[in-house]
């Protein structure tokens, strides 16, 4: 069996394939072609040498959804709402997260006010109809939207999460009146209360729907044209994959699929190596992203804001919880008006790039600092494809940082790295310490071109004793896609006191969600089902999701569920109130269809554990450079052991080991580091 993953990123399109019978990985990389993404996928497959007809399954992650939104190139979108709520989408929550900023911006609506139409109807929170649906008002809304030439329509009526009947009828009428428009109904996308957030999620779906749908169809047909007849799966933000049909209906679900692959890979590889608890750390060109995996399960956030919390678009669909900081290889070091040294969030990006890339960059970056300190070899970058300008990097750091701060160039380069490392360590703390987890109970998995360079320093900062550098760290997201299962998340608002919760009714809601899930599942045979109840103390707003079993609901295990909530609360906030009443707000169901497991090959026992050469490197606080042994990762065999200080080079990255660090190469090829002094 041949399985292939293609991940379109901002700069590169990465491919990782695995040939099950030959026990062989295939990798390829090509430049992303922003205007012809489908062509980019085909090019990458061609470059890999795999015949399209031989591929059994293709998993695809793409930036198409998020770019369509950020570049505002989506459809002309109309919105149909309950009478009186025409402006809910524009007003949002009325807040200004940047409290002192007189120049703040609210989100910029994707459906304008003049394409927002009100209809006469009203449902209550109980689901009861307060005012019946006036069909004439729907007909009128359709007529107006048709006259305006909309390409897509979102329908979001108040309390449709509780009773979607009016939304269904209105939707059917829209389909009939405007047969060629793309249609999104809020209860299909998100059955949770809070109208603005549900409306925003639905509008985003409608806005990107026609373009993403077209993309998925075109991908499918052009892959077919070159002979592909296997299964196509699309990566989604929750860490699972979905069929092209589901992706076409709910493109909003693939919005943040970019960083997700690497986190899935971290989880799977950690588990395989006996580390069920890992923190994934991916450092690329502009940012570093980190995420926590516990018992092999990535952490999900219930929603997120595309474009940031202050001015972004809320999308309340589960997404793997990622903390991102502006620290990547291209992040610029600078001094502010009072002489404090700062790193990022501005990035030199790929163009002009760091000074050492010779692309016209003039601002010193993290990559330049690594070149100056010797961690990156100017003559062996990306396998020697690009000879780095070490003198330029040195001169830039000297001029922009060292001189103004009165330091020597080496100290300045080191300071740049240390500040970046402390920022990244704060991000790792945010996903762990701040959620009640001790990072020392986790192994760090490093990926991205710049991840392995800094990972041991970050681990030491946080006293994390174990670091894993996986295979293909610079294609890690694509690798993760090979390993992802199919996943569909469902939510229903179900508001009541836990004390009087009707478990029969809850079981009925669960079964309804489950049967809906089955319709979307391709791998339904041995699917895994996860149920969570969103609970809180009466009077609170924020909930915690408490995992429960189908059994527990069937048996009505009120006390056990209650105790589990108190314990979870204690873990997260360090206090609890076991005497206070608890209420339930939502029930969540995740349906996970298991994809066939790949058996990755073992590395040959025999290898060369000798340095290919030595290079002068300034490590840690040493005043003088040390002649650091340099190993080639491709030459290392299973069981190879290396003591730091050392550099381990491979195509897209370099792993840096400090004096007290020790590493072993696992039989499956990963570098496992014991961090000294942690």
């Amino acid at each position: 069996m041949i399985v292939v993953a293609v991940d379109i990123g901002g700069t590169f399109t990465d491919l990782v394939g695995f040939d099950d019978e030959a026990g062989r990985f295939i990798e390829a990389k090509s430049l992303t072609t922003p205007h012809e993404l489908v062509q980019g996928v085909l090019d990458c497959i061609r470059k890999s040498g795999i015949a399209a007809g031989a591929i059994d399954e293709l998993i695809h992650g793409s930036t198409i959804a998020i770019n369509t939104l950020i570049e505002r190139k989506g459809a002309k979108t109309g919105l149909i709402v309950t009478r009186g709520t025409r402006d809910v989408y524009i007003i949002g929550r009325g807040n200004r997260p940047e409290a002192y900023n007189l120049f703040f911006h609210r989100h910029r609506p994707l459906a304008p006010r003049h394409l927002t139409r009100e209809i006469d109807e009203r449902v209550m929170s109980s689901g009861e109809v307060f005012r019946p649906l006036n069909k004439a008002s729907v007909t009128e809304a359709c007529r107006a939207l048709a006259a305006d030439g909309v390409e897509s329509v979102a329908v979001c009526l108040l309390h449709a999460y509780a009773n979607p009947e009016h939304e269904r009828i209105a939707g059917a009428m829209v389909s009939e009146a405007l047969p060629h428009v793309y249609l999104s109904l809020s209860h299909d996308i998100l059955r949770e209360y809070r109208e603005f957030e549900r409306m925003s999620t639905t509008v985003v779906n409608a806005y990107i729907g026609p373009k993403v749908g077209g993309y998925v169809r075109s991908l499918k047909s052009r892959l077919g044209a070159v002979g592909f007849s296997g299964d196509l799966s699309i990566m989604r933000s929750n860490g699972g994959v979905m069929t092209p049909e589901v992706a076409t209906e709910r493109p909003v679900a693939m919005m943040e699929s970019g960083p997700v692959g690497g986190i899935i890979a971290s989880a799977r590889i950690g588990e395989k190596l006996g580390f069920a608890n890992v923190i994934s750390f991916d450092m690329g060109g502009t940012t570093a992203k980190t995420s926590l995996v516990r018992d092999g399960e990535p952490t999900l956030a219930p929603g997120y804001y595309v474009g940031g919390y202050a001015s972004g678009h809320p999308v309340m669909l589960p997404m793997i919880d990622v903390v991102e900081v502006g620290a990547g290889g291209g992040s610029i070091a600078w001094t502010d008006d009072v002489g404090a040294l700062k790193v990022g969030p501005q990035s030199a990006g790929a163009d002009p790039g760091p000074i050492c890339y010779r692309g016209g960059g003039t601002e010193p970056t993290i990559t330049d600092a690594n070149v100056v300190l010797g961690a990156l070899d100017p003559h062996n970058f990306l396998g020697g494809e690009l000879v780095l300008d070490a003198d330029g990097a040195r001169a830039g750091i000297e001029k922009k940082i060292a001189k103004p701060l009165g330091m020597d160039t080496i100290t300045a380069a080191r300071a740049i790295l240390q500040i970046a490392i402390s920022k990244m360590a704060l991000a790792v703390r945010e996903v762990s310490v701040e959620k009640g987890f001790d990072p020392r109970d986790f192994a760090l998995v490093a990926s991205g071109g710049a991840g392995p360079l800094h990972i041991c320093a970050i681990a030491r900062e946080l006293h994390i004793p174990k670091v894993i550098v996986p295979l293909f760290p610079s294609h890690f997201s694509a690798l993760g896609m090979l390993l992802a299962d199919e996943r569909h998340d469902f939510i229903r608002t179900f508001y009541c006191d836990l004390g009087s919760l009707d478990f029969k009714a809850l079981a009925a809601v669960h079964d309804e969600m489950a049967s809906e899930a089955k319709k979307s599942l391709r791998h339904s045979a041995d699917a895994e089902w996860k149920i969570e109840l969103d609970l809180r103390y009466v009077g609170q707003e924020f909930t915690l999701s408490v995992p429960v079993s189908r059994e527990a609901i069937k048996k009505g295990e009120r006390q056990k569920i209650r105790a589990a909530f108190d314990a979870l609360y204690e873990h997260r906030y360090a206090h609890q109130s076991p005497d206070e009443p608890v209420e339930m707000v939502n029930v969540r169901l995740a349906a996970i269809g298991k994809r066939p497991q790949l058996r990755f090959p073992r590395l040959a026992r025999r290898g060369v554990t000798k340095p290919s050469r030595r290079r002068d490197v300034y490590l840690a606080a040493a005043r003088q450079p040390i002649a650091c042994p340099v190993y080639q990762r491709a030459e290392l065999g299973s069981g190879a052991r290396i003591k730091g200080p050392a550099l381990i080079e491979e195509h897209g990255t370099t792993t840096v080991l400090f004096a007290q660090d020790r590493c072993t190469v696992a039989p499956s090829g990963e570098i496992i580091i014991d961090v000294g002094g942690a």
Binding site: R83, G84, A99, N101, F196, E434, H575, S577
Partner: protein
């Protein structure tokens, strides 16, 4: 405490890197306290209105760090509580495990709902700082329910329970008597005491984080870094002010009245002196203290304005205000003497901020917007007893208004005031899940934004129908006679109000009364003002005016009257008529 997080605690030299690490760590602690408080609180004033602040304050009362994003008028306002506490208890008067509770107005200077909880932090038995949380409790007895008592409450005893720097925990032991007094004298003890628990948890979190930091870097390094961070922050603010032309800048405004004495404006005046990087904001010209409960002891008006103009996106610390001198004489409405009533303490602050900003308009033409709605939101407050559950309920939401046009763009619509940051309205569905009302609409008010080259943002109409008997609070300040001002030729925005229509009535009428009983099926519109316009409306691009008409933000009639833009019936632009109309308007002015 586990092994690895402990260090030797010895002093390490202060270098650029350590300084930067500590600079990032301190606000992160305050923000983490804030995030946990918000997620565990029991009252919408905390989880939606974010009416709280979390801070670290040293023993001199200097602000080490504060959360960013919540209610901005709490900026750097906890120092006075510590200077007072140090006087009363002395530096040896605190023990590990103490928790102090206070809201007393002689020092705290705000309404009694704002309960401050704080804990001392010791490093190696030395008292170094305090972790503090001020948060709005939903009730503290008296007339305080909900957003707090209004301006008509005559004194602090009527307002609620007064707590004067009391130790609710002493060395870790609960003062049971005090706890019972609290529990028996507030209406929603589960909610408020739940919030107290969250406040204490946030303080304990800060203590843990400070321990990690001090153990890693040592006492002297951290204290040196804090001093240097203060200095650098001050320098940054001076750098901004140094670029302004030295001089004295003045502006004034007023509220229609103080809510009690109805025939008299409530004057607000700001005199700002810029002198080589230093700024003095003199608010002596504002009203003397009032009989109405609109008094306070606060520098918030001056500080919020200064912060917004000098470094809006930077974290706050003591250095943020060192280059600012604020003059408010004792006996002023914002430096009122106990027991002047303070239950409506913050009501004037947004207008004070806006007046200071307006004064500086000529000095900072590129950074000063026109006036915003200037009030702490349209307050939705309807309460009663739920017939199904027998539980007391309060419908609460803060509806935003229009912001002034800005030097480069229009003002935002339906947004909370300059004193409120990440303050969110209550969702319609959330309100209706809990309370027996129907929110009939939440809508932009066409033509409420002041005309200008850059238009003012729009105010809102939020209409609520009650399904059971209950009481509305219509007690509110008004800016009808001093509407949100335009700047550089821009027109003022329109003001807000409360409107009521009883069942069977045809028309809405304007309302102004506290705790007003209404029968089932009444409708109330909470109306908020629009922002002022920036610049001459005749200079606004006609295409933008047309777009506003298509969006129904501006009516066709107003487009013609204020902007001189004439549209045909199909809403295409009639360029000839527009030119003619604009010329006529221009010559009419001359």
């Amino acid at each position: 405490m586990r092994r690895a997080l402990q260090g030797d605690g010895k002093k390490k030299p202060l270098d650029a890197v350590t300084l930067e690490v500590i600079r990032n760590a301190l606000p992160a602690i305050a923000n983490e306290m804030a995030a946990d408080l918000q997620r565990t609180s029991y009252n919408m004033m905390i989880y939606e209105v974010r009416d709280f602040c979390t801070s670290l304050v040293n023993t001199k009362g200097e602000l080490i760090s504060q959360n960013v994003g919540g209610v901005s008028h709490f900026v750097a306002d906890l120092g006075v509580i510590i200077t007072d506490a140090m006087k009363r208890y002395g530096k040896d008067g605190f023990k590990e495990g103490d928790v102090i509770i206070t809201n007393h107005q002689a020092v705290a200077g705000q309404h009694l709902n704002n309960i401050v909880i704080y804990m001392p932090y010791f490093y190696k038995r030395e008292l170094l700082l305090f972790a503090m949380v001020r948060a709005h409790w939903i009730d503290v007895g008296g007339m305080s329910t909900g957003f707090g008592a209004g301006p008509s409450v005559g004194d602090p005893w009527l307002e609620g329970l007064q707590l004067d720097q009391l130790k609710i925990y002493e060395a870790g032991k609960l003062n049971e008597t005090l706890y019972r007094v609290l529990k028996d004298n507030i209406r929603f003890p589960e909610s408020s005491l739940g919030d107290m628990k969250s406040q204490m948890a946030a303080c304990r979190l800060a203590v843990r984080r400070m321990d990690e930091l001090f153990n890693k870097y040592g006492r002297d390094t951290i204290l040196d870094a804090i001093a240097q961070i203060f200095d650098e922050t001050e320098r940054k603010c001076r750098n901004v002010v140094e670029k302004l032309k030295d001089g004295v800048y003045e502006a004034s405004a007023f509220l229609d009245d103080d809510g009690v004495k109805r025939d008299e404006h409530l004057p607000i005046a700001a005199k700002v002196t810029v002198d080589r990087g230093s700024m003095t904001i003199d608010l002596s010209g504002c009203s003397p203290e009032r009989k109405a409960a609109v008094n306070s002891r606060t520098y918030a008006g001056a500080r919020v304005a200064y912060k917004a103009l000098t470094g809006p996106l930077e974290p706050v610390n003591e250095g943020s205000f060192r280059a600012l001198k604020v003059i408010i004489p004792e006996g002023n409405i914002m430096m009122a003497r106990y027991p002047a009533p303070m239950s409506g303490w913050s009501m004037i602050v947004p207008t004070v901020v806006d007046t200071i900003v307006k004064a500086l308009g000529p000095a900072m033409m590129d950074r000063v917007p026109a006036g915003h709605h200037g009030l702490l939101g349209g307050a939705v407050v309807f309460f009663g007893v739920h017939p199904k559950t027998g539980r007391r309920f309060v419908v609460q939401s803060i509806e935003g208004g229009g912001w002034g046009g800005r030097p480069t763009e229009d003002g935002e619509s339906g947004t909370v005031s300059v004193c409120q940051g990440d303050v969110r309205n209550a969702s319609i569905e959330g309100i209706e899940l809990k309370c027996p009302v129907v929110v009939e609409s939440r809508a932009l008010r066409t033509d409420s934004g002041g005309a200008g080259k850059h238009r003012g943002g729009l105010g809102l109409d939020t209409c609520v129908r009650n399904l059971i008997d209950g009481r509305w609070n219509f007690d509110h300040p008004s800016r009808e006679h001093c509407p949100p001002w335009g700047l550089w030729g821009g027109k003022p925005g329109t003001h807000g109000e409360f409107l009521l229509r009883l069942p069977g009535e045809n028309d809405f009428r304007s309302m102004d009364a506290p705790h007003y009983p209404v029968p089932v099926d009444s409708e109330v519109i909470v109306r908020t003002g629009g922002g002022g316009g920036w610049g001459d409306p005749l200079q606004r691009d006609a295409a933008l005016v047309r777009a506003d008409v298509i969006e129904e933000l501006v009516s066709r009639d107003a487009a013609e009257r204020h902007y001189g833009v004439v549209l045909r019936d199909d809403l295409t632009l009639d360029e000839t008529a527009t030119e003619r109309r604009r010329n006529a308007l221009r010559s009419g002015r001359a």
